[in-house]
């Protein structure tokens, strides 16, 4: 019991759409904002209890200086503790969480602040030509976001679509799940189910200043059929702007602590991090890697799929939760639908958005708050990362 790791607080910003409300906010400010919120959310300031900071971020060039962005955030918070910045693509914040868990188990730390931050609207185009100088001819600018791909590999949109095809997930199923994501988000919003996790933020955009308090991207007034009319992108078979998230801005924060320390400080806790696991597979396997990570996690903890009350699988594309739950259901169609109906119950990245370095913590906190709301239980949150790495975390409330 004493060495159990508990979640003391978890907060995120509302997620902004591409070039939307957060597009003029520096990621440094955004990360500091959610961190401050998490550090005071438990009813008192706990800044001084933090032993280390772990920051997930995938595209540091969005910062004014894209180096040691974690330490930059730490100093902004006036927290002079060792800060690690981690890039495992979209896995980053859950990898960060896993490293904190190691530290805790090794007895090196008692409390840690975990952050995930991404400002995709602020990622600059770049050119490698300018440094040496351009003599004649045009300068070509590269956009690291269009499409998101890695040298020698295909765009992730293609991998997602091929995964859907491999596991016989139809285009209509992808589009239905995508529409469902928007509708579930709308229901959750109306019921106030994001109130716990969202910390509104004052932002400035085009000389206007306002309080940004609600996810900006969801479109619950669309339809499955309209999504079905969209054409596939980047040479994929089924990936469209309708069954994929946008390019988004947002940040998430979580404070974890040894249970005995939390008790000593009389801090309430949201839930327990039971275990984490990671997985890798061939580079085009991003759609099913969450399932492999979850399977390793379940094996490690001796948990059965049926013991899970809730599942969060990040909707990097609608294919990820669909393919991964199908694998977890062992191809049993009835079981698949059962798992799906407890997956991403408040909507996912297709609706809310996917600021790549922040989503992993978002799904973890959505899971813990929803388990709490339901009076307890256990669930997993899993995410895929570029070039096929996966992270999964088992949380019990």
């Amino acid at each position: 019991m004493a060495d159990q790791c508990v979640i003391v607080s978890a907060k995120r910003s509302p997620f902004g759409k591409y070039l939307g409300a957060l597009s003029e906010t520096e990621p440094l400010e955004l990360a500091a904002h959610v961190a401050r919120s998490a550090l005071s959310a438990a009813g008192k300031q706990i800044d001084r209890e933090i032993d280390q900071i772990f920051v997930g971020n995938c595209i540091p060039s969005a910062f004014e200086t894209g180096s040691v962005v974690g330490r930059q955030i730490g100093l902004k918070l006036a927290l002079d503790v060792f800060t690690t910045t981690i890039d495992t693509a979209c896995c980053s914040p859950l990898t960060a969480l896993r490293m904190a868990l190691w530290g805790m188990r090794l007895g090196e730390l008692d409390a840690a602040l975990i952050l995930g931050v991404e400002s995709m609207s602020r990622v600059p185009h770049f050119s490698r030509k300018l440094r040496a100088g351009v003599r004649v001819g045009p300068v070509e600018l590269t956009d690291p976001l269009y499409p998101i791909s890695y040298p020698g590999h295909r765009p992730v949109a293609v991998d997602a679509s091929d995964g859907a095809e491999k596991y016989e997930v139809s285009r209509r199923m992808l589009d239905s799940f995508a529409m469902g994501s928007h509708l579930k988000w709308e229901q959750a919003r109306l019921a106030g189910r994001f109130d716990d996790e969202i910390e509104p933020i004052r932002v400035r955009k085009q000389r206007r200043e306002f309080l940004f308090s609600q996810d900006e991207m969801p479109r619950p007034d669309g339809s499955v059929a309209e999504i079905g009319l969209l054409a596939p992108v980047f040479g994929s078979k089924s990936t469209t702007p309708g069954n994929a998230p946008g390019l988004n801005d947002g940040a998430s924060a979580m404070v974890i602590m040894r249970a005995d320390k939390a008790a000593a400080l009389k801090l309430p806790h949201l839930g327990t991090i039971v275990e984490q696991a990671s997985a890798t597979d061939t580079a085009e396997g991003i759609s099913w890697i969450p399932a492999l990570a979850v399977q390793r996690l379940l094996e490690k903890t001796g948990t059965a799929v049926d013991d899970l009350d809730l599942i969060e699988i990040n909707e990097a594309f609608a294919a990820m939760p669909l393919v991964s739950t199908k694998i977890l259901a062992d191809g049993n169609p009835q079981k698949w639908l059962e798992l799906l109906s407890k997956t991403n119950v408040n909507g996912g990245a297709v609706a809310i958005g996917h600021p790549v370095g922040a989503s992993g913590l978002r799904i973890a906190m959505t899971l813990v708050y929803e388990l709490k709301r339901r009076g307890g239980g256990q669930g997993v949150a899993a995410i895929c990362g570029g070039l096929t790495q996966g992270e999964a975390v088992l949380i019990r409330v």
Partner: protein
């Protein structure tokens, strides 16, 4: 010259003529807030310029002015907004009409529809139109009615009775149809501008025709009321089409009012319609058919064979109808029947069928002649050797269809062979063909000349080129095409089939058979299911249902009543059925109705719901089986092909509005209560529930 956004105003100082050229944003001219503001501004400008006359024309090649901007209205469907828009339109038209100058319009092979036609009728003293121009008041087709004085102004041209028919039928007619009135004048294209200018200059005092008509009332108020009452009986059977009652109530209220008050009184009948879900569904359906349907077709229509002529084999009612639509679109047709004389007789039958159209003035005689010139009757299969597309429409029997297919492919293996069948799978028909990839389904609906839908069926072997050829031909015939997968009864026939079967079962549960049909009409179906049995032919229904049951025993069952009626020769089409002379109940049919044991008759609402649910569920089973791939196709096919109520938009919208969970729950309850296999909820519902959405399918 003054540029506004949607009307170009020019004033010719020498002639003193102001010209208004309509050119709104979008592919056709439409009436929105911008247009109304511009029209009012143009009227003021013409008065300020002391114009001696005004000429209105359009810059769009095919469209003069085609009614309200539905995109704009749909974006913010609030009654208050619509009311303000309508009042603004009234004021702008009034400003133009009351100017101290004659107003004339020039319509050049264009359409003036709805509010566009009302503009002509209210604001213009004279309308000059070329042959080929079309005018009408199709508002009811999008759940509205003409509310800018259309009925009143049109009555002066064609009389109240005809005007009411046009309003209630949502009709669009050739301009010639209105030329009996001096207000509409047909002029050849090359003379039209000169003629119009001359008329404007020569008639400076023909003004305000529509405000101070000085004409005697076209008809007496009592007779108007009688006609309105008669229309009410025809059109307001289904309470879910409020626009018909609104149109009639507005007509009634306006009978004895002066024109301005008559128009004013229409506002309160018109504006609230937009808050009705059925009305917005109809507007959406209009877009679904016109804007979405073409996007659902396979992208690769370039692969279509060039079709310069077709052969139609089998000259029954359907074959003749198909030949007729081809020939009418200038596609030469070889019309085949069993022998030469039969083929010739079939052509004669087509000719006879067209006579009334010409006699009543709906068609120019030249159109009939051109159509008939395009049809060549023959029975010589060697003629097929260079025909790119053969449409087979012989009797619905697998062996016969296979024989024809083999015969055709032995003469011309390159031809695309399109089989018009309502239930036989393409796979079965092409199973013994040397080139199954050339075989595709083209399922027409009866009467082929009038029904707007074509269901193109892609068999598992059908080539992309054959499919594209069929679709391109359907488009040339001005059909709305949907592409579906193969299977017994494809999409529409099996879905229509359960409608008829449910009708029988409702009768077996104890609802009076004719009441079953009446409640179907009240629910918005064009014809009751038991009435369909007689008109479509009992044998056809029975055989199709039997075939479906043999292929999908888990989903279909045959009512005993149906079997007994067929056995007794109660099959309609000349033989007895539920109706005598097409409409009178034939009580003798009652003897065949087999009462279901221990089943309580559902109340009328529940019965109507069962008719809808049976179709909805079957449509969703078609998704499960891959016959359908998307919800748009589902809705288009159901409304245009098999009479699913248009104000519901189709099965997918029905489920969206009722809720996926609720639909599934109702199906389970009905399935439990009746034991009828086709109420077992489709798996698609389970999938949707698991995906977390309860609606928003289409």
């Amino acid at each position: 010259m003054q540029m506004t956004q949607s009307i170009r105003y020019r004033f010719d100082r020498i002639k003193g003529i102001a010209s208004l050229e309509i050119d709104t944003a979008g592919p056709v001219n439409a009436i929105g807030a911008q247009f109304i503001a511009d029209l009012a501004a143009a009227a003021i400008r013409a008065k300020k310029d002391s114009a001696a006359g005004v000429i209105i024309r359009s810059a769009k090649p095919r469209s003069f002015l085609d009614g309200a901007d539905l995109v704009e209205i749909r974006k913010d469907p609030s009654p208050l907004r619509l009311e303000l828009l309508l009042r603004g339109f009234h004021q702008a038209l009034d400003a133009l009409a009351t100017g101290a100058f004659p107003v004339a319009a020039v319509v050049v092979e264009q359409t003036a529809l709805g509010g566009g036609f009302e503009l002509l009728l209210w604001a213009c003293d004279r309308i000059f139109a070329t042959p080929g121009s079309k005018m009408g008041l199709p508002e009811v087709n999008v759940g509205l009615f003409p509310a800018a004085g259309g009925l009143q102004t049109l009555s002066r041209l064609v009389g109240f009775e005809t005007a009411l028919e046009i309003v209630m039928g949502g009709k669009v007619l050739p301009a010639e149809h209105f030329a009996a009135s001096p207000v509409v004048q047909i002029v050849e294209r090359h003379q039209i501008l000169a003629t119009t200018e001359k008329w404007v200059i020569d008639n400076p005092h023909v003004i305000n025709r529509n405000i101070d008509t000085g004409e005697p009332p076209a008809i007496d108020p009592h007779q108007c009321r009688t006609l309105i009452q008669r229309a009410r009986k025809t059109y307001t059977v289904c309470p879910q089409r409020p626009y018909y009652e609104a149109a009639l109530a507005a007509a009634e209220q306006a009978i004895e009012l002066p024109f301005r008050q008559a128009v004013e009184s229409q506002v309160n009948h018109f504006a609230p319609l937009i808050a009705d879900a059925g009305v917005t569904n109809k507007i959406d359906f209009f877009f679904t058919v016109n804007a979405v349907a073409p996007r659902l077709l396979p992208a690769d229509l370039q692969g279509a064979l060039p079709v310069d002529r077709v052969a139609v084999i089998g000259a029954g009612l359907m074959g003749r109808g198909i030949a007729q639509v081809c020939a009418d679109r200038d596609l030469p047709v070889l019309l085949f029947d069993v022998d030469g004389p039969s083929s010739a007789k079939a052509k004669q039958a087509i000719a006879d069928g067209l006579d009334p159209l010409v006699r009543k003035g709906r068609w120019p005689a030249a159109r009939r002649k051109r159509l008939l010139d395009n049809i060549e009757p023959t029975a010589d299969y060697r003629r097929l050797v260079d025909v790119p597309l053969v449409i087979e429409s012989v009797f619905e029997a697998l062996d016969l269809k296979r024989q024809v297919l083999q015969k055709v492919q032995s003469v011309n293996p390159r031809a695309v062979f399109a089989t018009n069948t309502s239930a036989l799978p393409i796979t079965d028909i092409s199973a013994v063909a040397p080139k199954p990839e050339q075989v595709v389904g083209m399922h027409y609906f009866s009467p082929a000349a009038l029904m707007p839908l074509l269901e193109v069926v892609r068999g598992p072997h059908t080539s992309q080129a054959a499919l594209a050829t069929a679709v391109a031909c359907g488009q040339r015939q001005q059909k709305t095409c949907i592409v579906v997968g193969d299977g017994p009864g494809f999409y529409t026939s099996r879905t229509f089939g359960v409608y008829v079967l449910t009708g029988f079962y409702l009768a077996e549960m104890g609802i009076d058979p004719w009441e079953v049909d009446r409640l179907a009409l009240r629910a918005g179906f064009p014809q009751g299911p038991l009435h369909v049995y007689g008109t479509a032919g009992g044998t056809v229904i029975h055989d199709a249902a039997g075939f479906l049951q043999s292929r999908r025993p888990e989903l279909f069952s045959l009512p005993k009543t149906l079997t007994r009626m067929v056995a007794a020769g109660y099959v309609g089409a000349g033989k007895p059925c539920f109706y005598k002379n097409g409409r009178q109940p034939d009580e003798s049919a009652r003897q065949f109705v087999t009462k279901a044991k221990k089943q309580k008759a559902p109340d009328p609402d529940a019965a109507a719901e069962m008719l809808l649910l049976s179709m909805v569920n079957q449509a969703f089973w078609c998704l499960d089986e891959g016959v359908l791939q998307d919800y748009f196709t589902m809705d288009i096919g159901a409304v245009l092909g098999i009479g699913f109520p248009d104000f519901l938009h189709g099965p997918a919208r029905y489920v969206s509005q009722l809720g996926v969970n609720r639909t599934r729950q109702r199906l389970l309850e009905v399935h439990q209560a009746t034991g009828l296999p086709f109420f077992k909820p489709a798996r698609e519902f389970d999938r949707l529930v698991a995906c977390g959405g309860d609606g928003n399918l289409v």
